[in-house]
Symmetry: C3
Subunit: 242 residues, 3 copies
């Protein structure tokens, strides 16, 4: 299975071109659009969201991960094996959180360049053929160079910030809820938000935090948009008030 995690835009012209390459070069792989509206231009937020999503990816799956404001510059191209799951994308930190949280991550730089490599669309030209090769069951050893660590590494620690806004107006943070006591409040933009288990446990319109379906601390509002009520954007800092 090949997952796509990008900022290409779900409605835009880029994801389809990537999928065309994948279907041609790995016709037996199922391709799943995980997210094409990953936070553009905020690689760190995107790295934490990817790490949360990765917990449910099956062993031996391959994820093509692209938030790549530096495409065309000198940043390297990276392959990671994080405890059995493969990731392919730019070496700009995007895959470094999921890798840092793995027991034994293995890293390679992509040394190969395809015959037709445009300056602006490595997702289609470079990462898709590599992901397809890996999904076929083989890391092409002649196309990669083992490296000890990535060039950019955000580390394994949680991120105390908003990392994603969904279309209901819920705000994901980079805090893993398993390590956050239900008694704390989450501070954001001068307010502090108490815990509730589910939407239906708070009055209509009231903001609360809960452990969302990816295991993250999420700011939400019952029947409304927490993002609008609290004026939240990706990157906004949050705090834990004990």
């Amino acid at each position: 299975m090949i997952f796509l995690y990008t900022d290409f835009g779900a409605a835009d012209i880029y994801a389809g071109q990537v999928k065309s390459v994948l279907h041609q070069e790995a016709p037996d792989a199922a391709v799943v659009d995980l997210l094409h509206d990953a936070p553009a231009f905020d690689v760190r937020a995107g790295a934490h969201l990817l790490a949360a999503l990765a917990l449910r990816m099956p062993q031996a799956s391959t994820t093509l991960a692209v938030i790549d404001p530096g495409v065309g510059s000198a940043r390297a191209a990276l392959v990671v094996n994080a405890d059995g799951r493969w990731f392919v994308g730019p070496d700009n930190g995007l895959m470094s959180v999921v890798a840092s949280r793995a027991a034994a991550p293995v890293y390679w730089h992509i040394a190969w360049r395809p015959e037709r490599l445009t300056a602006s669309f490595h997702g289609r030209d470079l990462f898709a053929p590599m992901a397809a090769a890996i999904a076929r069951g083989e890391l092409p050893a002649d196309r990669v160079l083992p490296v000890a660590c990535p060039d950019v590494d955000f580390g394994s620690a949680d991120l105390a910030a908003v990392i994603y806004l969904d279309h209901y107006g819920n705000a994901y943070t980079g805090l893993r809820a398993a390590s956050v006591a239900r008694t704390v409040r989450i501070a954001v933009r001068g307010q502090s938000i108490a815990y509730a288990r589910v939407f239906s446990e708070v009055p209509a319109g009231q903001a609360f935090w809960y452990e969302n379906s990816l295991g993250l601390v999420e700011l939400a509002a019952n029947g409304g948009s927490a993002a609008a009520a609290l004026d939240l954007r990706v990157g906004e800092s949050v705090g834990i008030v004990t």
Copy 2:
């Protein structure tokens, strides 16, 4: 074949997680995104739109249907077989119109709970594994309890209201056009709209009603947005003027 009919948002992070489960648990099934922008928070409108879409679903197909503002509350989980087509989702009325219009609908409540069931994402954790099992060819009898009827039933009658706005600005109603004479006018927001067979039969900009591709009465405007011109929203009542 598995159809997805949800309010998860086409660009959002939820549909991909559902598809990941479906591909893992029913790898031979084709998964088709029918709609991920079904009317959120208006289950009745969504039920009528689903009933219209279901007319073209093939026998033995399985539809995962989720508009679920009550997720995490006590509402039951439902499986319906409507004359050979399967539907899986919340027992909140969403599948009750298509079921009520079937000759011999059969209902089950889902008694099974998966090992990992989050409070907020039953689409991924509960409905997707059930839909995958059914798509593999077997209703898992140890996971369901037959029930005589659903807890919430909107019935089989038409709905005289706007149920969907498409991106062109056309407004679907819950009226099946086969039973509406072409001589009537449709009353909405103080205006009354005459029939035309196709867009090209009315002057540019003029609103009209016609039988749309799902067999429903639709309010449209030639070369423009009927929703904008008539200030329409999902839920707006319509009337038939003879």
Copy 3:
């Protein structure tokens, strides 16, 4: 492989119904959503964008191409074989640029009408069954009539206009960059824009033109939206200043 290139809207209710037909009638074909936000109501722009995308379509692939403001009127339905690649859609010029650029295009009108043909959704009712038949490996000879040329033909020449705006705010033109010297400037809305190879070669916020990943002249801005900065829309004329 079947590509979908339409103005149905990525989030709307139409693409899924087309895919349902394709999966039923050509279950072995991979279906790739190339673009569902092709420029609505601007068939000429859409024709040039399709011609650029077609360069990377594999031999024997089939593309269902629908921008069809005239659906329900008398325009014909067309099948094109452009040097081994198949295209199915309305005969309104949409497929004429890719066809005109082929060495030996072959054209047919679709003479067949399906049992259930709605006036407003030929994409699902007429073009999808035809595309599925072709993808299964056979042009159904009893359903088509050879024609010498299409009714509407935009020709093979470049189009000096904006043909697509992506979600980053980049503006594609219908000019193929291979024939445009890097020393020229692109004139648009009273300004003239110089060339740069990649985004990182210009100061932040500055507009430039470059050869994009489809081989077209594209107007872009480093870290910003060229469409917003230059107030661009699809159809806007551009010029070449030598």
